[in-house]
């Protein structure tokens, strides 16, 4: 019927523009927590775009990669936040 592939490519380009907006905040951000907020936003958008990739190319392995990426980015965010707080680990 309607071709899903072209629709998903358009959605991916739109998500790429959102990532570029977040990268501008990461570069401009005056303090360190601003940059971390930008990185967290980029991580979430990349996860959803990996799911879109998996649906566009009909590859299940991309979605498994998205799950692992979500858990690892969560750990890295927690670690950077703990570093910003200061004090002992």
């Amino acid at each position: 019927m309607i071709d899903y592939f072209n629709v998903y490519i358009i959605v991916l380009i739109a998500l790429l523009i959102c990532v570029i907006l977040a990268i501008i905040r990461v570069v401009l951000g005056p303090t360190a927590p601003d940059r971390i907020v930008g990185l967290d936003t980029i991580n979430t958008i990349v996860i959803s775009s990996m799911v879109i990739f998996g649906a566009a190319f009909r590859e299940i392995i991309y979605i498994d990669v998205a799950i692992v990426y979500a858990l690892l980015s969560f750990i890295s965010t927690l670690f950077i936040a703990k570093y910003l707080e200061g004090g002992d680990f």
Binding site: A14, C18, T31, V37, T44, I52, G54, I63
Partner: protein, 134 residues
Amino acid sequence: MLGLIIDIIVYIFLIIGVFFSFLAGFGLLRFPDVYTRLHAGTKCTTFGSIFITGSVIILGLKMWYLGSADGSVLAIHTAGALIAILLTNPTGAHAIARAAHKSGVKPVGAVVDGLDKVNGKTIKYQKEKMEEKK
């Protein structure tokens, strides 16, 4: 007929998800403060990711209904990714906000900080601990 209705639902979900991702990007650029940027950047992307992954789940269920075995695997794995996003994203946002407040970033236009006493105590306590170590 059923396939056309499901296609329209998938497209509506995709449009909602992309719209909220754009709101997250513009909010990150336009808001004046760490906490308001966190408000825009985390909640809007979580909501958008729910709708984008939901559209892929509906697509997988449609493929499964039409007789493709790949569809059920696609739907179940995408549901796993959705659960991972829902568990990890608010926790990370909370940790970032706590770290920002403890590292001394004040909200723009704030008059009174109700957590000042608590943080003063903790900082004093840490300083005492450092002096004890020396």
